[in-house]
Point group: C2
Chain length 213, copies 2
């Protein structure tokens, strides 16, 4: 009875399976997951207890464990789903903009909006939710995501240097790390009470350093 990560009711087109055998789940898995996202986002991995989770998800502990596995695997799913629902503006900017400069510009401006949007906690879950975490694997997991994001930006910058879009002498690693640090600082600022306008002003200042061709 461990690790049934998929809902039994298949919604995939084609395989349209019949109703599952036993008693159906009494809650909506997606809704419960969203509540878990908000809880972990606000308080972080460790400070969000299982009883906090069962309260906000409005289900009993055995239901939680049956539907999501233990606290760790629920958190992993939360982080994945957070990425899809809230944390993809960076990847989108890198994928959709034609230059690193344009991608960074969009990234910083969208961060200002995303990190202060109403209806959910401020700042970024990936940046904050595993700080001061006594489970090293959890801390490492989010650290890995943060560093991967910076690495992705770095290689995008390298591509622009190779294409002549940026000066040959540009330090891609340092520039990418600078942008990563600014975004992480903006997230901290959002947590500390900065408004969207405050962060947009920070983003504009941060963009002024971009090297000219």
């Amino acid at each position: 009875m461990v690790g049934s990560e998929e809902t039994k009711t298949q919604v995939e087109p084609g395989v349209r399976r019949a109703k599952p055998r036993g008693r159906p789940r009494s809650f909506d898995r997606e809704t419960a997951l969203e509540k878990a996202i908000l809880a972990f986002w606000e308080h972080g991995y460790e400070a969000t207890s299982v009883s906090d989770l069962t309260r906000v998800m409005d289900i009993g502990a055995p239901s939680l464990y049956a539907a999501f596995g233990d606290k760790r695997s629920l958190f992993e799913e939360v982080v994945r789903e957070y990425g899809v629902r809230y944390g993809s503006f960076g990847d989108r900017a890198l994928a959709e903009e034609s230059t690193a400069r344009a991608a960074v510009e969009r990234m910083l401006r969208e961060a200002a909006v995303a990190y202060t949007a109403p209806g959910h906690p401020h700042g970024c879950l990936v940046i904050h939710a595993a700080t001061n975490c006594s489970t090293p694997e959890v801390e490492e997991s989010l650290r890995g995501r943060r560093n991967a994001n910076i690495a992705a930006l770095e290689s995008r910058i390298r591509a622009d240097i190779a294409a002549g879009e940026l000066p040959a002498g540009t330090d891609a690693a340092a520039l990418a790390r600078y942008v990563g640090a600014v975004i992480q600082g903006m997230s901290q600022q959002a947590r500390d009470g900065a408004s969207r306008q405050d962060l947009e002003a920070v983003a504009e200042i941060a963009l002024a350093i971009w090297p000219r061709t």
Copy 2:
């Protein structure tokens, strides 16, 4: 038997009191406090348990409570002492440099060194130790320190604007917040594995935005 925050053996000049009456403390309070600083610095307020503290400080729980009060007041003393021993480079830069520009330059460069120095945890205790903290007062206390630091920089910048050292149109609040965000981002980067050189490169890039007179 609660809240004897001061050592009985006075070291203040002048009042040179005689030895206290009862059994003397068997450990050095300063040394124990330093160990507590390192523990809270590395793991944060909540993730550092009292039994972690008694282990690294090498004293029993009753001795800890007698000498430092409860966990909260020990942490408060740790934060104060951290400021004195490790976290004063920002204040010193503001106090000793003649312009905001020079102060910020020194601040960012010294942050790169301080946040990666060997012999103690990386990054800044004030920035990280109360993240994801379920005691709101503790979280608020460090948030207050962070925002106060940015406010101090802002007023230093305002002074330079008034003195004609900076353009009249300079947005002091945004500029101060930008520097604060960069420093907080550098601290996060240090926690995520950035080296001194990495952070120095970030600092140099960050400084390139400073407005000219």
